[in-house]
Subunit: 545 residues, 2 copies
């Protein structure tokens, strides 16, 4: 029988032909090599060249609607975001991807610093004893922990774990640094790599064995302060998704079954991919309560000289956010990047004709430089494509594949009209902008694109959320690839039964994505869609990544 | 017999009492627990309190001159830069240290981006086969490589190495991405952690088993371009040390014996710690030549459609730079931070008397706020210390320990005089600054401190460099804890003999630090200080970290 986890997963190409030139690497069992998306390098080779070349081979061979998984695998390679790596489940983040991660970092980092959070760096390694301190926590992670047992030709006396997350790395030191209420709050963050040797199907950005993230770890004297921060951070995570990546998310609380191992409770922002009908956890902000502070003995003296355990939070956002953004916006021509996160926002392409006189050509190039400067002064990230060995058509396709939000074309006619032709990546809409208006109109257009992309994605998600009061309605929604919002009795057994019963040969079972903070009223007497018991809250359900 | 490597090394406290509250961790053999420097937390506990408290316990118990190693170990903990960690050779970078690393990152990152270098991220793991591709290179690193052999309770089919550096991680992909001369230059950088399981004595910042760094990896069509970049980057490394950290360095080329494993040649900036008489490698910029491109088959088609191997460089700067800065400037009262890298540059301390009337107190606090705002507008990083449970004396000591470049005191007399008293951390010099001049004079003072600290360090280093033409002169210099600049026949056997012959029961042997780019003339007939053969160049020698 097909593993339903994999049936609608994006296929992973763990050892694509792209890596053919690389030295042979060992492959692990359980994962088979996949057919390889054609890298852009290939296309370039045939399409490029002094004569210009045609545009064939530049688009994507796969379609977002028809074969989402293949489309995604092809897209991330062709647009030069990712290279598949010869250690299974690990990926190379190429400059086009990493530059977006730097934008996310800059956005979030400046905001948490304003809240009073400080950056720091804790080691990659954890001793076995420390890792085992918090039982629920370690049980959640143990199967995925990678262990270092050797150095050079020697064996370590005891194996050392690679951090899957840093609660147990950090909290022994919290207990040393915190003595009195004057040492509180303690609010630390770090930007690091972590390793989780997962066996779910790996997918670039979405699920990888090593990934990049930030992890915040904070301690407060009171529950109220801790809970306040949980929501402050969740609001920033909403901001990363909605305001920066133009991806709509639902804020809510995780069910007990789905919450972080060892947490008091977990809050989350949940996104959704219409084409696969799957929800995806965007980022989580956990209130850890006093669970870890009791295990790690993190106490402070209050005003009455009594020892109190601190209240703690932890919260994390990963490179997965880029994957969600890509899946949300990209199309069959390639990436579609929201302007605020795009490494380059505008490409200026001069289009001389063969007959253009040298002086006219020079004037055109001067105008390109002038507009570039004017836009850069407005903070716009501009690239110019003045290469003379590619045709304009090739360049259009190239920058569409890379997802640049706006193209500016400058041909002889535009020179005559003292204007440029602009073309939006998201809608294809064209607009003539007079030279005199470039420095004001282009930044406006970029903000319009940003807003329109978000609105469009939000409408799609809203269209795919169905309110369901019965099991039949629920299964219709699921099989429509929709999410289901249901009244729920909030019992773990129901989640387990629902997951089992909604599993089909073609699709994984559904689970709760979250209990949304914003939900319709729940009048007394409303019944759980599944059990018929009195409903306690609304739950958002879906198949998920 | 004492191991001379350790005899003058900074003692490492691998399991200090600071970690007493943490769960017991396994200790490796070969390294013994060390006596523990008193953390500031302790001092706070006794010195602090509502009554103010005395200043005892605040200074350092060890002296830079008398017992450098203990002084350094105590300093990095007491100033809250570092916490010792329960995996031997790994350290926690606390916010005060990490904030300085962020300044270094910002400085260097913006400059390499201007040169056209792009950031990216490559995986932490390397397969064994790939690691073994370049023989000289792997031989240099093999004994220090950490190996992952397990995940959860399972054994990996083949062990996977943790990157000690990323040449072998990246270059298989360079060979895929580079096809024609249009794909060149390829200039990538990444900011990451790397692991080298070394058995030299670990020392915070200076030598740790996991450390943070940037590693640049670039490929060019021609030798000339590659060699140009090697020097461009070396100049930036000089800038990090001299212009940012106020640490004088000597630029030069490494001897064949000391160069990077697998390099064509290595250039370096070398610093020097007068108190220990030891040179220390600051950062290295390697020309890899075509060595790796031949091993990894990295070729491009030139204009004549001929396949050519690319020319490559790699270059790295680590958190060691902070350790060198600390060792260079700190004193028996604590850190002395150059203003440009200090997380906070100025502390403003209001000093009300018990008799100060409420309105006068309010006016004082308003003035503190006003000056803070005025300075922040000038880009000065300000902290105010308005805590009323510590005495002014305690605060002076505290901020001296943390190394803040400039203190501003505002007492009743200053209020009367419409001025503040300033006190420099580096010299102790005091200066009255009128309120009206604060926004202009304070930034000037910070630049003066920066320049004076560099000049003082440069003079100390110059005083400790002796030109030596004979073995006797050479040994006198070394035993004076000085560096020796000598004419040299540039033969590896000489280096080996010098190292052996200069090893004493108390001190390690000397080696070449570099062949300096700036050296005195070398008239024909000048003889090698050791062999008497014709000298080929000048070499800078020293005992070293």
């Amino acid at each position: 029988m097909t593993n339903p986890e994999e049936a609608i997963a994006a296929p992973a190409a763990d050892a694509p032909a792209e890596a053919a030139k690389a030295p042979k690497a060992p492959k692990e069992k359980k994962e088979k090599p996949k057919k390889e998306p054609k890298p852009e390098g290939e296309a370039k080779k045939s399409g490029g060249g002094a004569a210009g070349g045609d545009n064939k081979g530049m688009g994507l061979r796969n379609s977002k609607k028809a074969n989402f998984g293949d489309w995604y695998s092809e897209l991330v390679v062709a647009s030069e975001l990712i290279s598949y790596y010869d250690v299974s489940g690990c990926y190379i983040l190429r400059p086009w991807a990493y530059a977006m991660w730097e934008v996310v970092q800059g956005w979030f980092d400046s905001r948490i610093k304003k809240l009073g959070v400080q950056n720091s760096y804790f080691p990659l390694f954890i001793t076995e004893d420390v890792l085992n301190t918090e039982k629920d926590h370690v049980e959640g992670f143990a199967p995925e922990v990678a262990w270092v047992t050797k150095y050079g030709n020697s064996t370590m006396e005891k194996p050392i774990a690679i951090r899957p997350t840093s609660e147990t790395v950090m909290y022994p030191y919290f207990s040393q640094w915190i003595r009195s209420h004057r040492d509180l709050p303690l609010r630390l963050n770090q930007w690091t790599n972590v390793v989780r040797w997962e066996f779910k199907y790996p997918t670039p950005f979405i699920r990888s064995r090593e990934f990049l993230w930030q992890e915040g770890h904070t301690a407060f004297a009171t529950q109220a302060e801790a809970e306040g921060e949980v929501l402050d951070i969740l609001e920033l995570y909403r901001g990363v998704y909605e305001d920066l990546l133009a991806v709509p998310v639902t804020k809510g609380k995780k069910s007990k079954k789905e919450q972080f191992a060892g947490a008091f409770y977990t809050t989350t922002v949940e996104a959704y991919i219409p084409e696969t009908g799957r929800g995806i956890q965007g980022a989580t902000s956990h209130c850890l309560g006093q669970n870890f502070s009791k295990m790690f003995n993190i106490t402070y003296e209050d005003d009455d000289r009594q020892k109190q355990h601190v209240w703690q939070n932890s919260w994390g956002l990963t490179t997965r956010s880029l994957g969600v953004m890509i899946m949300t916006h990209a199309d069959d021509k390639g990436l579609v990047l929201p302007p605020r996160v795009a490494p380059k926002q505008v490409v200026i392409i001069p289009i001389p004709k063969g007959s253009t006189a040298p002086e006219a050509l020079q004037a055109m190039m001067d105008k390109v430089d002038e507009m570039t400067k004017a836009l850069e002064e407005k903070g716009v990230r501009v690239v110019t494509d003045t290469r003379n060995n590619y045709t304009p058509g090739w360049k259009y396709n190239h920058w569409e594949l890379k997802g640049l939000p706006l193209r500016m074309e400058l041909g002889p006619k535009d020179m005559d009209n003292a204007a440029v032709m602009t073309c939006r990546r998201d809608t294809g809409a064209k607009e003539v902008v007079a030279w005199a208006d470039v420095a004001t109109r282009i930044p406006q257009l970029l903000e319009t694109i940003q807003a329109d992309m978000f609105a469009a994605a939000k409408a799609r998600t809203a269209d795919c959320t169905e309110t369901c009061h019965s099991w039949d309605e629920f299964m219709v929604a699921l099989n429509n690839k929709h999410m289901a919002l249901t009244p729920w009795a909030d019992e773990e057994e129901i989640e387990e039964e629902v997951k089992k019963k909604s599993t089909t040969p073609d699709a994984m079972g559904a689970k709760t994505l979250c209990l949304p903070f914003e939900a319709p009223p729940l009048p007394e007497g409303t019944k759980c869609f599944y059990s018929g018991k009195p409903a306690k809250n609304w739950a958002l359900w879906g198949r998920s990544y």
